[in-house]
Amino acid sequence: MMSRMVKIAACLVPAIFMFGCATKSVPYDYTAFKAAKPRSIVVLPPLNNSPDVNAGNSVYAQVTYPLAEAGYYVLPVALVSETFKQNGLTNAADIHGVDIKKLREIFGADAALYMTISKYGSTYTVVDSTVVVSVDAKLVDLKTGALLWQGSASASNKEGNNNSGGGLIGILVTAAVSQIINSTTDASHPIASLANVRLLSGGGDNGLLYGPRSSRYLTQ
């Protein structure tokens, strides 16, 4: 009797795992994205809901890498931010409210990326501290205003190196972080890079589709 129950359990456990995987990968509806075929993206300065005033700069400085490697032209972020400043807009919330027609007219981009930072920095416990960065993003077609894609991602410094998503994204993440870590002492900055790579790389589960400059364009 006992061994029979063990056998049933042995069959059921893998079945649960399979369901676990199945629910995770509900396919994203890419109909609008595939119809719009954006080539260029203007990333707006991120909205920062974290207490760290530097979070916006840190996340904004590191969005180009994953988007460009996914095959998109990314407008020069510092210049974009400067153009807003020259038009009297320094606050990310005001910038996110700018009419898409105006964005298209000035930047000539096919799509705009609206990002929000919900977490950036350390949370301390008695024995330890963890650095966490959480971001989400919406890609909007600047011709029609249609939402092409949205997603969210988190990263922390308490993740094992082998646990970063695997595959190409895993490799990209490792590369991005080792690259950034050498040039900064701010602990949250490389974690923000990791969150950005996880959120904005091409070809991930429910992630952005590859863009025209990628050799994998139209393979999904």
Partner: protein, 122 residues
């Protein structure tokens, strides 16, 4: 004959391993990234443009020496830094480079070049 076959197999396995590790340790990116984003971060934090110009010029030499590509936005960023330090000819050259490498930047680069012609701040 038998040990010969297994030697060949072992060699093949080794070559396979080498090829695999080769891929894993050297991910090939489309662009060379060690300069652009760190300098954008310095700029956004308000650091002086002279240091960023020096770092980006050096990085650009390294990129061409290695036959790599500068990332989207690199030349435009360098052009903006030149405009702060009052070198209009170099601004125009960089914006044109950005446009040549990435025609998608055309409308924005033209917008910025137009502002320069009118003597407006970028």
């Amino acid at each position: 004959m038998k040990p010969m076959i297994s030697k060949t197999a072992a060699l093949l396995a080794l070559v396979g391993c080498a090829a695999l590790t080769g891929c894993a340790s050297q991910p090939k990116t489309m662009y060379q990234w060690d300069g652009y984003q760190p300098q954008v971060y310095e700029y956004l934090k308000g650091a002086s443009p002279e240091q960023q110009i020096a770092a980006m010029e050096k990085n650009l030499q390294d990129i061409s020496a290695k036959g790599n590509q500068a990332p989207p936005g690199f030349h435009a960023q360098l052009g903006m830094l030149y405009s702060i330090s009052g070198k209009p000819d170099q601004v125009i050259a960089q914006f044109k480079d950005e446009k040549k490498l990435f025609p998608e930047s055309g409308p924005y680069m033209d917008f910025l070049l137009g502002k320069m012609e009118k003597g407006e701040k970028l």
